[in-house]
């Protein structure tokens, strides 16, 4: 038995000891099934194609205890101040170690038709939104981390936008890992019914100095004629291992516009997958990351073109410093039915000095004949001669670096729909550059 297996077993034992019980509820049945799937799958190794460039052995072997509500430390508003967005007009809901914190949340300025609550309020009775949708989009048959998350989902965030509700003020979901040497399993469910519109930001932060393992899952359904802006901001410590799975299902004529921003984390793996399950759909998956020291940032995207007349746009930009490593895998599947598909993917990296490294793997699988699919990848370098060129014109080093990097990231930053978030992303980008030089 190797260490992986031992730890898999450990988590299963924990599941049985702490969380099993009330098996009668459908929700708990799903959890139990997830637990047994996780037991069967175990942690993935680099032998698995999707994990070829990212070795998670350090996570599998480490001794993380499972987050428990009773152990979650007390966190004050002052503690989370740095994570709040300046001039934010919308609502915010805060989770500590995956557990809802009422006193830190501020649910205001959004339509009262919208549900913004911990998932756990909906486990029983009522409309059964959670039971009906849980694990339907983020399936766990072949996803060990999603299975693990599902098994340990106790609370989590539910965002429900009913049909025809157009909400221009945003919803900010804040997840904070506050207990060291702990595995937390944040869970989000964003359900947008037909003809609605919303903007949701998920952000992830750390409030402890020890290693943590954050394993998050977000399930999103976007109804017909619905528009969802969805941003994920990951600004965790360099001791955070962050594995996330964002799974989306889109119905006809919907528009899903997303961007993922990565500023922290030691080992980061972001899966995002969207199923274009109708006609006339548009989907945008953008990503921006800046890595330093020995960070490992893996973005894994999957766009499933299932029906005709849909378009997808993917633009990933990575700025790699020091000895950090980036991985980008972009799979686009165009099924036989999906004629007139228009899919664009581009992945660009900027290596700043040192020994940064990038592995990129586009993967187009096309089974329809009347489609437009393009992909491109570039790796640029800021070398000594470019830097000298700036300086020989009177522009100091720091300014040169920020000009170059900003120019590189600009397209993604200016595309952010929300001003508060745009300011924050801009600030974080320049801050990472500055601290790198200091």
């Amino acid at each position: 038995m190797n260490l992986n297996d031992k730890n898999t077993e450990k988590y299963i034992k924990a599941f049985e000891t702490y969380f099993n019980g009330s098996v009668s509820q459908p929700f708990h049945k799903v959890r139990q099934q997830a637990a047994s799937n996780f037991e069967k799958l175990g942690f993935p190794t680099t032998k698995k194609e999707e994990w070829r460039f990212t070795n998670i052995a350090s996570i599998a072997k480490a001794d993380f205890k499972i987050a428990e509500k009773k152990n979650a430390p007390t966190v004050s508003l002052e503690d989370i101040e740095p994570f709040l967005l300046a001039n934010w007009q919308g609502a915010r809901i805060v989770f500590i170690d995956g557990f809802y914190s009422e006193h830190l949340s501020d649910i205001k300025n959004i339509s009262d038709k919208i549900t913004l609550e911990p998932l756990s309020s909906h486990f029983e009775g009522k409309a059964g939104l959670v039971n009906k949708n849980l694990s339907k989009i983020a399936t766990f048959d072949d996803e060990a981390f999603t299975a693990l998350n599902t098994a340990f989902t106790t609370e989590g965030c539910l965002v429900h936008i009913p049909a025809k509700v157009v909400e221009n003020n945003g919803i900010h979901i804040i997840h904070i890992a506050a207990s060291g040497r702990t595995l937390t399993n944040p869970r989000n469910m964003i359900l947008c019914e037909d003809n609605s519109q919303a903007l949701v930001i998920e952000s992830y932060h750390t409030l402890c100095t020890d290693d943590v393992f954050v394993n998050s899952v977000t399930e999103i359904s976007v109804g017909e004629n619905t528009r969802l802006y969805h941003y994920k901001l990951q600004d965790e410590s360099l001791k955070s291992n962050h594995i996330s799975n964002v799974a989306i299902n889109q119905k006809s004529n919907s528009n899903y516009i997303s961007a993922s921003f990565i500023f922290g984390g030691k080992l980061v793996r972001n899966n995002i997958s969207t199923k274009l399950d109708g006609e006339g759909i548009s989907s945008t998956l953008n990503g921006l990351y800046i890595s330093r020291e020995d960070q490992h940032i893996d973005n894994n995207t999957f766009i499933d073109h299932a029906k005709p007349h849909c378009e997808s746009h993917e633009l990933y930009r990575g700025i790699l410093m020091d000895k950090s490593k980036g991985v980008f895998s972009g799979k686009i599947l165009v099924r036989q039915d999906a004629q007139k598909t228009d899919a664009k993917q581009s992945n660009n990296c900027l290596l700043l000095y040192e020994d940064a490294q990038i592995d990129a793997k586009p993967q187009l699988e096309i089974y329809a004949d009347d489609v437009k699919c393009t992909h491109g990848a570039t790796v640029g370098q800021l070398d000594e001669s470019a830097m000298f060129y700036f300086r020989a014109r009177g522009i100091p080093k720091e300014k040169a670096l920020s000009m170059l990097t900003y120019a590189f990231a600009e397209e993604i930053i200016t595309g952010i729909k929300d001003d508060s978030l745009r300011d924050r992303v801009e600030y974080l980008l320049l801050d990472r550059l500055k601290s790198h030089q200091a």
């Binding site: 060129y389 009177g394 522009i395």
Partner: protein, 245 residues
């Protein structure tokens, strides 16, 4: 304005400049000629502050200050301009933004106010005419995809905007057709004044038909082996460098 004394410099442990002496006064044009690999670009780069080169001996004084003490950007802010032999491509940063930032950094360092966008555009329009540069190049990324000639022209355009006190043109003439050569030379001549000086590094006497040098120096194996007036350039054109060895 510039006094170079017994300057020695090396790169990767290899000595390239082996004792250079050079004295330049305001208003003068100095041509530096010499065979490939003799150290012309090295001298230009050392004067501009490129850090890969290690100065091992000698001194450079610039308006009485120790030039070698200053970082490259400080030298630029004090009026030194290097027109690169191989201008660098800067993807994503537009030519016009790059140049305005450069100008403003130089102005700030000299206690002057920053120039606003409108005034800047007005000013550069004139300078563009001077070097006959295409307007389209302004909004493109710095040097990215520029032809060889366009890159050289862009260097002279930058020089025209930044108005340096000491311009060092490192083979700005190579790769230029005869019209472009004339334009570049016109640019240099128009900008010439009693206060500023120019160092022209070149292989060809033809450039010196347009930019008349006050002095011609021959650099050979890291030393100035001969200096003279403009007639020295003709002599070199005729006889090559062998007779100097």
């Amino acid at each position: 304005m510039l006094e170079v004394k017994d300057l020695k410099a090396s790169i990767a442990g290899k000595e390239i400049l082996r004792g250079i002496n050079l004295s330049i006064k305001p208003g003068e044009v100095h041509a530096i000629m010499g065979p490939n690999g003799s150290g012309k670009s090295t001298l230009a780069n050392v004067l501009s502050g490129r850090e890969e080169y290690e100065v091992t001996a000698g001194s450079v004084s610039y308006f009485g200050d120790d030039l070698l003490e200053f970082a490259p950007e400080e030298r630029a802010q004090k009026g030194i301009f290097l027109a690169f032999q191989y201008p660098v491509e800067i993807p994503g940063v537009s030519n016009v933004y790059f140049l305005r930032t450069a100008l403003n950094e130089i102005r700030k360092a000299n206690g002057e106010e920053e120039i606003d966008a409108a005034a800047f555009l007005k000013m550069i329009r004139k300078k563009m005419e001077l070097v006959e540069m295409e307007k389209a190049l302004l909004n493109r990324s710095v040097n990215e995809g520029f032809s060889g000639g366009e890159k050289k022209r862009n260097e002279i355009f930058q020089m025209a905007v930044l108005e340096p006190k000491l311009a060092i043109l490192d083979e700005t003439d190579s790769g230029l057709d005869i019209d472009a050569l004339r334009v570049v030379a016109d640019g240099v001549n128009t900008l010439k004044s009693k206060e500023n000086a120019t160092i022209v590094v070149t292989h060809y006497q033809r450039l010196l038909d347009y930019i008349i040098p006050d002095f011609v120096h021959v650099l050979y194996k890291g030393q100035i082996v001969k200096s003279g007036g403009k007639e020295l350039a003709f002599e070199l054109e005729e006889k090559g460098y062998d007779w100097l060895k």
